[in-house]
């Protein structure tokens, strides 16, 4: 007879093997290839040197971080009013709002990027309005810029933030705000001293989700940023499929992985500090 632990291991072994073969092995091979180069024998840091000396790679690196931070901030600022408004709406209103909130998640990222192209292009709705109102004389070039990427990703990731915030705000007892007001805090003070702290667990989850997804987003930056505003993800793509420099692509990939892990670590660290006074 096998012990329970042995049986568990035996049962999960096939899954480990499959995941190992399909995910871990290629990832390790890919990362290993970051340290090889066609021109040099054996282990080398040449790819990283090349990145270090590339202005484009540097720009992409900082742009990736900047975009992820701005997108996260935008979803936080827009997420609070939406989450609170949603929870305060009556049950009938909620049944209308919930699909509106979740529906975008069911539409392909590519379709939504094309939506933004329609809005932002020189002959698009946005420019038509600006021109029509006489605010600008010639169309503003918004498409294929960092702004377009930020707009697109914010819209894409907003539902994740709203849903996370809602989950934690919903758990809070409704009388807390009233208790705060009865103790002399006006609604604004109550919002900052009670509502925000109550939502911290959801804010942490939402930030992790949105930041990680913004960091690794690919289709939106490719379609809305194009070659003019490359991020690390689109840089990987162009190394791999335009210059066929797989080693350079792998090196950028490694940078991205480290960036993501560093952020996850930071989030957990902050979480542990803050969450001590929760649950």
């Amino acid at each position: 007879m096998l012990s329970a632990t042995q049986r568990n291991w035996a049962l999960s072994l096939p899954a480990f093997v499959i995941v190992g073969l399909l995910a871990v092995v290629p990832a390790v091979m890919m990362l290993a290839s970051a340290f090889t180069s066609p021109d040099i024998e054996g282990f080398t840091l040449a790819n990283f040197e090349k990145l270090w000396n590339s202005k484009l790679a540097f720009q992409a690196f900082w742009r990736t971080i900047r975009v992820a931070i701005i997108v996260t901030l935008i979803t936080i600022v827009l997420g609070y009013p939406l989450a609170i408004g949603f929870l305060r709406a009556g049950p009938r209103m909620q049944s209308i709002l919930l699909p509106m909130l979740v529906f975008p998640l069911m539409v392909s990222v590519v379709v939504r990027a094309y939506g933004w192209i329609v809005v932002l292009s020189p002959s698009g709705i946005f420019n038509q309005v600006l021109l029509g109102l006489g605010i600008v004389a010639s169309p503003v070039d918004l498409l294929y810029s960092e702004t377009a990427v930020i707009l697109g990703e914010s819209q894409l990731l907003l539902p994740y933030m709203v849903l996370s915030l809602m989950a934690s705000l919903q758990k809070a007892e409704s009388n807390l705000e009233e208790a705060s007001m009865s103790l002399g805090a006006n609604p604004v003070t109550t919002f900052f001293r009670i509502v925000i702290p109550i939502s911290v667990p959801g804010l942490l989850t939402g930030t992790l989700l949105v930041f990680a997804l913004a960091l690794t987003a690919f289709a939106t930056p490719l379609l809305l940023g194009g070659g003019r505003a490359p991020l690390l993800t689109t840089l990987i793509y162009s190394f791999a499929f335009t210059t066929f420099d797989w080693s350079a692509a792998a090196a950028v990939g490694l940078v991205l992985v480290i960036l993501a892990l560093a952020f996850v670590w930071l989030q957990r660290w902050v979480g542990q500090k803050v969450m001590k006074s929760y649950e």
Binding site: A172, E173, N175, L176, E178, A179, S180, M181, S182, L183, G184, A185, N186, P187, T189, R193, I194, P197, I198, V200, S277, Y278, E279
Partner: protein, 343 residues
């Protein structure tokens, strides 16, 4: 500290009236209870006083000044919610100190007052605990301390004891009374537990179906309920339709002497407690009945007796050593029959 008055308060939610023309007054330093069954509008009334609900019509007065236009955060009213509503991410001390911080007091003053309030509610060393680390009774004390420490003009308690188990509830009841007496704060207590209302209050407001039925001291309400609802709610078992006669009441053709100022001939309800019925010998009885049901509790025996007075059997209680069966004769002292308006 102030007096509180509710004057012709009406609160409607759409077409639904949650409070209909409620009026009552609590004098400075007194404890007044709003007593009534679930859904009768107790919490709504309390929330209107706190300022969380705007009155559809009518006035809320603190110290005889209308406060309808003053928002909750400027009313200086302390509230203990049924669920306590302690801030979960703050320590006990921070919870209690919150109201003082909002009043811009300095740290030392806050610390001193917080200590003082926690001592008063019997929680001298829990400052650094979080609400989730406290028992139900302790949470309740913290909620009380948090409401008291701001020295409110009025304190509102919404079923503060209902989340506690029976033993703790009895204990906290006395504690609550002691704290209220010591602080002298005008207190309004919402409850559906008549024992709680009777043991704690100076005045009781009995509500039913959004309407204030009776306002009076516990004694007044106990002795002279004014309608069938109140009589039933305070546990008077026998409430029968009757007619007023010149010097008494007539219940289903039987005449009884009773004291009342209702006009003769009017339709009323006559009520009496089962404990006020007396067994009589054959000659002295006023009416006869047949024992049709019995139950034995620890302290007394309860009998259902079918009489000519009503279709449903009336209830009779005897000492635990006294057993009854078959046909019995009963009588009622005149001053024990309560005359009620028909609802």
């Amino acid at each position: 500290m102030s007096s509180v008055e509710v004057r012709n308060l009406v609160k409607k939610y759409g077409d639904f009236t949650a409070v209909r023309d409620a009026s009552f007054r609590a004098e400075t330093g007194s404890l007044i209870s709003i007593l009534g069954p679930s859904g009768c509008g107790k919490t709504t009334t309390l929330r209107a006083i706190a300022g969380f609900e705007t009155a559809t019509s009518g006035d809320i007065l603190l110290d005889d000044k209308p406060v309808n236009d003053i928002p909750p955060w400027r009313r200086n009213i302390g509230i203990v919610f049924q669920s306590y509503a302690l801030f979960p991410f703050m320590t006990v001390a921070d919870n209690v100190g919150y109201g003082l911080k909002m009043r811009k007091m300095d740290r030392d003053q806050i610390a001193r007052k917080t200590d003082d309030a926690l001592n008063r509610v019997g929680l001298p060393d829990s400052h650094l605990k979080y609400p989730r680390q406290l028992s139900g009774g302790q949470r309740q004390r913290v909620a009380l301390a948090r409401a008291l420490v701001i020295e409110p003009a009025v304190m509102l308690l919404d079923e503060p004891l209902s989340a506690l188990d029976a033993k703790l509830r009895d204990e906290m009841r006395f504690e609550l009374k002691r704290i209220q007496r010591q602080s002298g704060v005008t207190t309004l207590l919402v409850t559906h537990d008549q024992e709680e209302a009777f043991t704690l209050s100076d005045q009781i407001v009995v509500m039913n179906n959004a309407v204030v039925k009776q306002v009076g001291s516990p004694r007044e309400i106990w002795d002279n309920p004014n309608c069938a609802f109140v009589a039933d709610f305070i546990g008077i078992e026998n409430i029968l339709p009757a007619e007023r006669t010149t010097n008494g009441v007539r219940i289903a053709g039987h005449d009884f002497a009773a004291l009342s100022d209702a006009a003769p001939g009017s339709d009323i309800m006559a009520a009496f407690r089962s404990s006020d019925l007396e067994l009589a010998g054959d000659e002295a009885g006023q009416f006869a009945g047949q024992v049709v049901g019995e139950a034995y509790t620890g302290n007394y025996n309860v009998y259902q007796v079918q009489t000519g007075l009503s279709e449903a059997p009336i209830i009779l209680k005897t000492g635990k050593s006294q057993r009854l069966s078959g046909t019995i004769n009963l009588k009622l002292a005149p001053d024990r029959i309560k005359i009620l308006e028909r609802d």
